[in-house]
C-alpha cells in the first residue's frame, strides 16, 4: 500500500511536469499572444505590457520563472530577493493574462468548487443509475425491458448534452416550474445541470455494465453458482457482478475527470460560473497562465482518478496485487 502510494505520487509529479512542459511550449508555438487583439496596441504600450508579464524574456527563462521556485525577476534570485518563491512548484499558478487583477489561483478557487460539486452530483447519480440499469438489462437480456433500456442508453449517448439540457429546462423549469432555470445559488440550481451532465455517463456505464455482465455470466464459475442452487439474484450480484463491473470501472477514471472539471456547454446553458468555460476561453484568448492552470488541474485529476481505478481493481479482483501496479 505504502509502496503503491509512493510510486503513484512520484508518477503524478513526473506526469504533471511533462504535461506542463509540453503545454507551455505548445502555447507559445501557436501564433498570437494574450495581447494581440483586433485593435492593435501601440508598440510602446505593447512592449510595456509584455515586459510586465516577462513575455520579452527568452522562452527558457519564462519557463523557469513559471515553474519556480526560483524567482528570476528583479524581486527574486536575480534582484532584491524580496520574493524568493513563486511559480507552479510553490502552488502559485501566476496572474491571469486576461482577467486583470485576478490570479489563476483565485479564478480556479472560485470556479472549481462549483464544477466539482456539479460533477460529483452528476457522477453519483450516473454511476448508481447506470450500474443498476446495466445489471437489470443483463439479468433480463433479450426481454422488452432490456431492449428499451438499450434504446434509452443509445439515446443518452447520441443526444448532445445541450439538447438534453434544453429538454430538461423546457419540461421541469418552464412547463412544470419545479426547478430554477439557471444560476448556482442553491442546491436546486444544480439538479437539472447534473442530470444533463451525467446522462451520457449513465448511458455509457449502463452499456458497459450490461456487456461486461453478460460476458461474465457466460463464465464457468457462474454456471457453478447456478448449479449450486443459489437464487438468481445471488448469482448475478455476488458471482457475476464483480467481473462484469471491471470494464465500467476503468471507463470511469477518465470519465470522472472530464465530468468533475465541468462542461462548457452545461455551464453556459445554466449560467454556472464553473471551470469548464475556462478550458475553452483561456485557450482561445491565449491566456497562457490560466490555460496552463486548468491543464494542470485536469492532469492531476486524471492521474489521481486512474490511480484510484487501479486501487479499485485490486479491491474487486483479488488476483491483482497492489504491489505489482
Amino acid at each position: 500500500m505504502k509502496r503503491f502510494v509512493l510510486r503513484r505520487a512520484l508518477g503524478l509529479v513526473l506526469t504533471v511536469w511533462i504535461v506542463v512542459t509540453t503545454a507551455f511550449l505548445m502555447m507559445r508555438v501557436v501564433p498570437g499572444g494574450p495581447f494581440s487583439a483586433e485593435r492593435r496596441l501601440p508598440a510602446a504600450v505593447l512592449a510595456n505590457v509584455e515586459a510586465r508579464y516577462h513575455l520579452d524574456w527568452p522562452i527558457w527563462r519564462q519557463y523557469l520563472q513559471y515553474l519556480g521556485p526560483l524567482n528570476l525577476d528583479s524581486h527574486g534570485l536575480l534582484g532584491d530577493r524580496e520574493r524568493p518563491f513563486g511559480g507552479v512548484l510553490a502552488g502559485d499558478l501566476g496572474p491571469s493574462f486576461r482577467y486583470r487583477d485576478y490570479t489563476v489561483n483565485q479564478i480556479l478557487g472560485e470556479s472549481l468548487p462549483l464544477s466539482l460539486a456539479l460533477g460529483s452530483l452528476a457522477l453519483a447519480w450516473a454511476v448508481t443509475v447506470g450500474t443498476t440499469l446495466g445489471i437489470l438489462a443483463a439479468a433480463r437480456r433479450g426481454t422488452k425491458l432490456d431492449l428499451s433500456l438499450r434504446l434509452v442508453a443509445a439515446l443518452g449517448i447520441a443526444l448532445p448534452s445541450f439538447v438534453i439540457a434544453g429538454l430538461l429546462v423546457l419540461v421541469f423549469s418552464l412547463a412544470l416550474g419545479w426547478s430554477p432555470v439557471a444560476g448556482s445559488s442553491t442546491f436546486a440550481h444544480f439538479v437539472l445541470p447534473s442530470l444533463a451532465l451525467g446522462a451520457p455517463v449513465a448511458a455509457y456505464v449502463a452499456r458497459l455494465v450490461r456487456t461486461g455482465l453478460i460476458e461474465s455470466l457466460s463464465q464457468d464459475y457462474v454456471r457453478t453458482a447456478v448449479a449450486k442452487g443459489l437464487p438468481y439474484s445471488t448469482v448475478i450480484l455476488r458471482h457475476a457482478a464483480r467481473g462484469g463491473l471491471l470494464p465500467a470501472v476503468s471507463y470511469l477514471g477518465p470519465a470522472a475527470a472530464g465530468v468533475l472539471t465541468g462542461s462548457l456547454v452545461i455551464e453556459r446553458i445554466f449560467a454556472i460560473p464553473g471551470t469548464g468555460s475556462h478550458f475553452v476561453a483561456s485557450a482561445l484568448s491565449r491566456d497562457y497562465t490560466l490555460a496552463l492552470g486548468v491543464t494542470i488541474v485536469y492532469s492531476v485529476l486524471i492521474y489521481s482518478l486512474n490511480a484510484l481505478v487501479d486501487f479499485a481493481y485490486t479491491r474487486l479482483d483479488p488476483r491483482i496485487a497492489l504491489e505489482e501496479l
Partner: protein, 342 residues
C-alpha cells in the same frame, strides 16, 4: 433403492444450421451406492445429460423436449425453477471438471462453500464456515480453517480440485454428477478424487453418475456403463462385461482406441475410424454406419433399437438389462467369442 431414474430424455438445441438432438431416447437408472458411467466421444450427449439432471439445459440454451427424470418420487422436469433450485447441490450436485474455471476467482473458498449451506441449510455465515472447514478437511486439504480465507488462485491445482469437490459434497447430496472429474488432473490427484467419490458411495449410499471418455477409469470404477453415440445410448451393460465382450462395434472400437497407461510405446494409438457424427446432419439408419466395418444395407436404412441378445447365438450367459442397438451384434459378440476361444 433407485435414487434417480431418467426416462426417454430428449434434448434439442436450435443452432444456425438447424435443430439438433444432443440427447435422444435416453433412459437409465441410478441405484443407491452405485456408479453409472456415461461414455462416448465428445458431442455424444453425455455432458448434456449431466446438465439435464440438474435442470441446467435451459441455462445452456437448449430445450428438454420429452422425458422424465424421477428423483424422490418427483419428476424433476415438471418442477418449477424455484423448487429445482432447492435440490441443486443439496440433493443433486455437479462435480465440475476444471476447478480453475469452475471456482469463482473473486470470492474466497470459504464464501463459496459456505453459501451452499447458507442457502440450503439456512445456516448462519459463521456456522456455515465451520462446517465448510470440516468439508475441506474431509477432502484432505491441510489446515482447512486458514484455507477458508484463500482465493482460488492462492491454492495449488490439486487443492483447487479438492476444494471444488468439497463444495459439491458440503451439503451431502444423494446424487453426484461427475462430469469428467479427473480429466484435468494429474494421476495422483485423480486417484484421490476417485477415492472421495467412492467414500461418498460407500459411507452415505450416494449415487454417482460419471461422465467420462476415460474408458480405463470407467472400467475400473463404474458398476454399469451406458455408451452413447450421437445422442443415443447404443449399448448398456455391466462395466466388466461391456468391455470384455462388447456387442456394439462402436464400443469395441472405443475400447481398442483407449489410451493405456504403461502400454507399449511401439504401438500407435488406434483411433475409431472416421469422424464423429454431425448432429445436425445425422446419417439415415444407424448413426454409426458410415464408420462401421460391419455395416449392411439394412444398417443404412433402418435405425436399430436397444435390444438383448438371444442365448443360442452366443453361448454366453445373458445378463439382465444388457442391451445394444446394433443389427449385427451377434457378429460382434461372436467375433469376440472366437478370439477368446482361439
Amino acid at each position: 433403492m433407485t435414487l434417480l431414474q431418467v426416462d426417454n430424455l430428449r434434448v434439442r438445441y436450435d443452432t444456425p444450421r438447424g435443430p439438433l438432438w444432443a440427447v435422444d431416447q435416453l433412459s437409465f437408472k441410478l441405484e443407491s451406492g452405485e456408479m453409472v458411467a456415461l461414455v462416448g466421444e465428445s458431442g455424444s450427449g453425455k455432458s448434456t445429460t449431466a446438465l439435464a439432471i440438474l435442470g441446467l439445459v435451459p441455462y445452456s440454451g437448449g430445450v428438454v423436449e420429452t422425458g422424465e427424470i424421477w428423483y424422490g418420487g418427483r419428476n424433476l422436469l415438471a418442477l418449477d425453477e424455484r423448487e429445482f433450485r432447492k435440490l441443486r447441490a443439496s440433493e443433486i450436485a455437479l462435480v465440475f471438471q476444471d476447478a480453475s474455471a469452475a471456482l469463482n476467482p473473486f470470492l474466497t473458498i470459504g464464501v463459496q462453500l459456505a453459501e451452499v449451506l447458507e442457502v440450503h441449510r439456512g445456516l448462519s455465515r459463521r456456522e456455515a464456515l465451520t462446517e465448510s472447514a470440516r468439508a475441506l478437511g474431509d477432502v484432505g486439504i491441510p489446515d482447512p480453517e486458514s484455507r477458508l480465507h484463500a482465493y482460488p488462485h492462492e491454492l495449488s491445482g490439486g487443492q483447487r480440485q479438492r476444494a471444488l469437490i468439497a463444495m459439491s459434497l458440503v451439503a451431502k447430496p444423494k446424487v453426484l454428477i461427475a462430469d469428467e472429474p479427473t480429466t484435468a488432473l494429474d494421476p495422483a490427484v485423480a486417484l484421490t478424487v476417485l477415492d472421495l467419490l467412492k467414500r461418498e458411495r460407500e459411507e452415505r449410499g450416494a449415487g454417482v453418475v460419471l461422465v467420462s471418455h476415460d474408458l480405463e477409469l470407467v472400467h475400473a470404477t463404474a458398476n454399469r456403463v451406458h455408451v452413447m453415440y450421437a445422442g443415443r445410448v447404443i449399448e448398456q451393460a455391466d462395466a466388466h462385461e461391456l468391455f470384455e465382450h462388447p456387442w456394439h462395434p462402436y464400443t469395441a472400437a472405443l475400447w481398442r482406441a483407449r489410451a493405456r497407461l504403461g502400454g507399449e510405446r511401439r504401438h500407435r494409438l488406434a483411433a475409431v475410424p472416421g469422424a464423429p457424427a454431425e448432429l445436425t446432419a445425422l446419417p439415415t439408419g444407424c448413426a454409426f454406419h458410415p464408420r462401421c466395418e460391419l455395416a449392411t444395407d439394412r444398417c443404412r436404412r433402418e435405425r436399430p433399437d436397444l435390444s438383448g441378445l438371444r442365448r443360442a447365438e452366443t453361448g454366453m450367459s445373458l445378463s439382465s438389462g444388457r442391451r445394444a442397438a446394433c443389427f449385427e451384434k451377434e457378429r460382434v459378440a461372436g467375433a469376440h467369442a472366437e478370439t477368446l476361444e482361439a
